[in-house]
Amino acid sequence: MSSETKQILTTDGIPLEVSLKKAEKKNKIKAFLLVAPLLFFLIITYVFPIGDMLLRSIDDKMVTQMLPKTFKAMENWDGQELPDEEVFAAFHEDFIKLVEDKREGKLSTQLNYTKNGFKSIIKKLRRASKKFEEGNYKEQIMSVHKRWADVEYWRAIQRRAPEFTGQKYLKGMDMYVNEEGKIVSVEEDRRIHRVLWLRTLEIAFFVTVFCFLMAYPIAHLLATLPMKYSNLLMICVLLPFWTSLLVRTASWMILLQQQGIVNDFFVGIGLVTDDNRPEMMYNKTGSYVAMTQILLPFMVLPLYSVMKTISPSLMRAGKSLGGTPFVAFWKVYFPLTIPGIGAGCLLVFILAIGYYITPALVGGASGTLISNQIAFHMKSTLDWSFASAMGLMLLSGVLVIYWLYNKIVGIDNIKLG
């Protein structure tokens, strides 16, 4: 039909599309202005910090800027034999400047991350450099300590030349780039992060399972009980929500400690003997118990909101058609709650995987998670780039789970209320 291809005009002769755009422009501007504060807020509080974290985690400019001339001179060095006098002279020049600024200590810390043994030889070099004569720096530096004559240490310095590095990420997985430039794992007794990652996943997984098992009946009760009882139950579910996280964790400490209420009860009913009280805190058990209790509402609420929408007549229909109560539940009710299960599990798992305060207080050595390690590097070692790298690994882990969930269940199937 020709009328379809013809441009449609309004009564004033303006093309309809133009007219429509004009009419909607005002609304669009209004809508944008309404969203603008939130957008601005998100950029400042979310996009910017995460971007900064990403940069920080791969930033390795510090050493690059401390030894500019050395790295320039090293460009022609093939790394096979000891570098020649030109490199040593440049290194000497950079080093004197660092000593004047009193920054050689930082250099030694940084280089020590790459290869152990730099700390002492830099200290020695500083003392010796005061008496250095002009010229032939190679001989003079090499004579300070035998490691300065070891080509391995010069290669270690060269490895710090690039401005950006992925080393922190490797370190987060207990791996590093060795002298030959290959990615290898650290020795078995020094692998601490992998254990933590696995433990974090394990605890998050089981906390999610426990939460699910406990929340499902509660949510079902909430959705089916008459109003006056369900309101009371809802308050019981939400009450811990309104209590400070720290207070709740502390109260678990009172309950779970060896002389605590739970243990007293066990002894009281003769389950354990008094001198054989089980340790339920400062280990995984503590983390499991406290985290499950704290994260329970996050499972109950999405489940409840989904169950609330399931008409009781569906179960009745299932039964009247001949399904046993179990069949009616399993074939009719349960599939309809999957969106709520998905939402709840995803929520609890993601919260659990980054949990910090509770495992720090009741987890002890065997119950701490990767986020405690991140906090440790933020506060104690001040290795912020490593903390950032692990933070981002955690974030990408969450994104991978989200992606998997979307593949398997479909994100449209999520229902938070």
């Binding site: 039964k319 058609l321 399904g323």
Partner: protein, 361 residues
């Protein structure tokens, strides 16, 4: 087929939810095999409770229900083999139409090919062939309703319960579905217990209607009898339109009674009045009263036309008659031009047989 008179039997059934109020009081009801029986009543009259007790979702507080001679109070719902159509269809939203219909067959472990045949048959019965792969959400209200009916019949139950199944449909669709359900019932001869609060639905579809009020069956009879011969003023009021006069019986003799309304008297048919001096409500259907009757009628009174409402095929008149300003009269528009103008005084006559003197309201 030899049909049993008491295929379903409610025997002295009481039901109370809170131990204070009886929702169903001493219910005695027999339903014959192959019958289409409707429980009709206002909301809260106990009709849905009766249905739920029959389906097994509620237990009688007292008394027993028999299905085909067996007491069923202790049988759980899934073993009763009763088909049910719910108020909001209760189709399983995560299953296709096919899977919805296959559900009762699967739990009965009916082989796949036999099940397929049954499903085809059930779908063609409600003329929904070709819809098997659709999800319930993709169907219109009327189609969902038909799927629900098909699902309740697919496993060949002897008894099907329907709980206000047409309540959510619009008027036209509701009417066509009424006929469809009636025809399905006639063609397969299943026993149907139908619950509704819509009297026209009940009158169109049922063999018998049980009118519920206040937890009791007020009258159980065929639609025409229910309309023509209501046994009490609740039924008369609830079914169809009704003109009432409240008065006192002044004389009973020879199958007729005189009822005194203020300073006039009318003749009526004594249904639930026994003697002189009793209060009564006289009930008269609008179409039983005529204007200027040509034949002799034993009641003839003058009334003033208060309102004229045109209804297409007929005209309704509101008349102030014998102190009742709400007296309604239906005049077919084909009838010869009567002098029906607002404010006119006209003669209205009716037979005393049609004026039923019932219990006082």
């Amino acid at each position: 087929m030899v049909s049993k008179k008491d295929f379903v039997k409610f025997d002295k059934v009481d039901k109370s939810y809170d131990g204070k109020v009886l929702v169903v009081k001493d219910l005695q009801l027999d339903i014959a095999e192959g019958e289409f029986i409707t429980m009709l009543g206002p909301s809260g009259s106990g009709k849905t409770t009766c249905l739920m007790m029959l389906a097994g979702f509620e237990t009688p507080t007292n008394g027993e229900i028999y299905l085909d001679g067996k007491a069923i109070s202790s049988i759980p719902p899934h073993k009763r083999g009763i088909g049910m159509v719910f108020q909001n269809y209760a189709l399983f939203p995560h299953m296709t139409v096919y899977e919805n219909l296959a559900f009762p067959l699967k739990v009965r472990k009916i082989p796949r090919d036999e099940a397929d045949k049954k499903i085809d048959k059930a779908l063609s019965m409600v003329s929904l062939q070709g819809f098997a792969a659709r999800m319930p959400g993709q169907l219109s209200g009327g189609q969902q309703q038909r799927v629900a009916v098909a699902r309740s019949l697919v496993f060949d139950p002897q008894l099907v319960l329907m709980d206000e199944p047409l309540g959510a449909l619009d008027k036209n669709l509701r009417e066509s579905m009424q006929y469809e359900i009636k025809h399905i019932h006639e063609s397969i001869g299943v026993t149907v217990v139908y619950v509704t609060h819509d009297q026209s639905e009940a009158l169109t579809m049922s063999n018998r209607i049980a009118v519920f009020n206040d937890g009791k069956v007020q009258q159980l009879s065929s639609p025409d009898e229910l309309y023509e011969k209501p046994v009490n003023s609740f039924v008369a009021e609830f079914i169809g339109e009704n003109n009432t006069f409240g008065g006192e019986v002044s004389d009973i003799s020879g199958g007729k009674c005189k009822v005194k309304l203020g300073n006039t008297e009318i003749l009526a048919n004594p249904i639930s009045v026994k003697g002189k001096g009793e209060r009564t409500t006289v009930s008269l259907r609008p179409e039983r009263a005529l204007i200027n009757p040509s034949t002799k009628m034993d009641n003839l009174h003058k009334g003033k036309i208060e309102e004229v409402i045109y209804h297409g095929d007929h005209t309704r008149l509101r008349i102030n008659l014998l102190g009742n300003p709400e007296f309604i009269l239906k005049v077919p528009n084909s009838s010869s031009n009567l002098d029906i103008k607002l404010g006119n005084e006209i003669n209205i006559g009716w037979n005393s047989d049609d004026a039923r003197a019932l219990d006082p309201k």
